[in-house]
């Protein structure tokens, strides 16, 4: 009897540690999985952009600057060797510019008649919807992970394992609405 109690006293804390350890790893993997799904979608968008720019550039003569900036941001996001945080920052900027682009398109009715453009626009909408979905999935996974590595008692183990807080990927509303409407009207 005494032996069983002793065994339980030793085994229980070990089981507890194993449980927390596995839980932390599970959460970390979830974040990584979610991150890779954002990455896939962001890549899809990057693949779409050159086609899109090619199709619109002869129509959108007044938008040269915006188009160039989009192209630049795209290649910046594609260049290897940048950290996740930097990549998010660049993609955030790109999302903002794409928002501006979508509004600017409204000024070119000819574009709306171009079937190729309409197809690309539909794909772009879909990809952006997917990005938004994977971004939300990623942020949910990051929240769970960050909670786990900061809350007691799992924070002790997380510290030992060298787990650090992960950044969430936000696209703030201002970024999307950050369009200078005045400039759009004055140009004509």
């Amino acid at each position: 009897m005494g032996f069983i109690v002793l065994l339980a006293i030793i085994a229980l804390p070990i089981l507890f540690v194993v449980f927390i350890y596995n839980n932390l790893i599970g959460k970390k993997n979830k974040v990584e999985y979610a991150f890779s799904s954002i990455d896939v979608m962001l890549k899809k968008r990057r693949d779409l952009i050159p086609n899109l720019i090619d199709t619109v550039k002869e129509y959108m003569v007044h938008e040269r600057e915006l188009l160039t900036e989009i192209t630049q941001l795209r290649s910046q996001a594609m260049s290897g060797g940048i950290s996740d945080e930097e990549m998010f920052h660049v993609e955030k900027k790109l999302s903002g510019r794409m928002g501006q682009f979508k509004i600017a398109v409204e000024n070119y009715p000819d574009l709306k008649a171009n079937q190729n453009f309409l197809n690309l626009q539909a794909s772009l909408n879909d990809v952006e919807e997917q990005i938004s979905a994977s971004r939300r999935a990623y942020n949910a996974a990051v929240m769970e992970y960050n909670n786990a590595i900061e809350m007691f008692p799992s924070n002790i183990l997380a510290n030992k394992m060298g787990y650090l807080r992960r950044p969430s990927f936000e696209i703030p509303e201002v970024e999307r609405q950050n369009v200078d409407v005045k400039a759009l009207f004055n140009r004509e």
Partner: protein, 318 residues
């Protein structure tokens, strides 16, 4: 969509004969009740007094029942079908949307099972009032359904009792979804979180009979619903932030604890309702604008779900 005011004037004249039938049926009901109360009831009492045997009572009830069903109930049922064949069909045709209506058809048990909202075994299943058509670009079908599962209980004496428990009664709507997806996402009314809070949420995540729990960032939505899905990203692709708002609004509008299932590029919506769908009260004239309006509204409410969930928008290349 054509408004009620537009269709009412052309409907009313066509329904005169239907209302005559209704008045005739009311007369028949009075007559039947008169026979039961005036003849069968006194005779039963008399027989009971003379014979002093309970059998007289049973015979009386039996005869009363037969008289009621042959004289009245049979005709009432016929009239009920007539209302659907004439009035409902007439409304559907006047709406001019190419809708098909079949009174005694209903959504197949396979479709109902496939949606995965209910996990009970389906042992009895029936329905009526099947509609099918298009709202804008979106295919939609709906019908009234009842689904029951068998429960067997053994009492203290070892006798086995079987009874059927209704786990769904109400409207069931299937519509095309405007985005492509491959897995299955369920939006179910949240029972545990409302009462148990954090513990409830923990319990939900440990529900092994369902797919993975998906946490939505809208706290109001999280309080009312729980989401399970085969894919975390796909669930959020389907349930965009505006879709969450729309689902909450729809649930409030229908005043029902609705469940949704997204599978096979379709959305399945279960709307539990205790009220019978498209049922007519015999005491009300079928010429009454309010009566017809109620029927019209019931149909339109179902069709409007397409707009309520914004399923007609086609900007995603589907």
């Amino acid at each position: 969509m054509i408004t009620f005011e537009q269709i009412f004037p052309e409907l009313q004249p066509k329904l005169k004969s239907l209302d005559d039938q209704r008045i005739e049926l009311l007369r028949l009901r009075r007559k039947t009740l008169l026979i039961i109360v005036g003849i069968i009831l006194p005779l039963t009492i008399l027989a009971l007094v003379i014979s002093r045997h309970p059998l007289a009572l049973f015979i009386g009830i039996g005869v009363g029942g037969i008289v009621y069903s042959t004289m009245y109930e049979k005709h009432r049922r016929k009239f009920k079908n007539e209302v659907k064949d004439k009035l409902i069909l007439q409304i559907v045709n006047s709406m001019n949307m190419g809708l098909t209506y079949r009174r005694s058809s209903f959504i197949s048990v396979n479709e109902f099972r496939k949606c995965g909202i209910y996990q009970q075994s389906i042992d009895k299943y029936w329905g009526e009032d099947f509609f099918e058509g298009k709202v804008g670009e979106t295919d939609v079908l709906f019908s009234e359904l009842t689904a029951q599962s068998k429960k067997t209980v053994r009492d203290s004496k070892g006798n086995v009792h079987t009874h059927y428990v209704t786990f769904f009664q109400g409207l069931f709507v299937i519509a095309d979804f405007h985005k492509n997806f491959s897995g299955r996402t369920l939006v179910l009314p949240d029972n545990s979180e409302q009462f148990l809070g954090m513990i409830g949420k923990k319990l939900q995540s440990m529900n092994f009979t369902r797919d993975e729990l998906v946490y939505m960032e809208n706290p109001e939505f999280e309080k009312k619903f729980v989401v399970y899905s085969t894919d975390q990203v796909e669930a959020r692709y389907i349930l965009s932030l505006t879709m969450l708002e729309r689902i909450m609004m729809l649930s409030e509008k229908l005043d029902s604890r609705i469940s949704l299932s997204f599978a096979d590029n379709k959305v399945y919506i279960a709307i539990p309702q205790s009220k019978d769908f498209l049922e007519h009260n015999l005491n009300q004239s079928v010429l009454d604008s309010e009566v017809i309006r109620n029927f019209y509204d019931e149909i339109v409410t179902c069709l409007e779900i397409v707009d309520d969930l914004n399923l007609n928008i086609r900007i995603w290349g589907k």
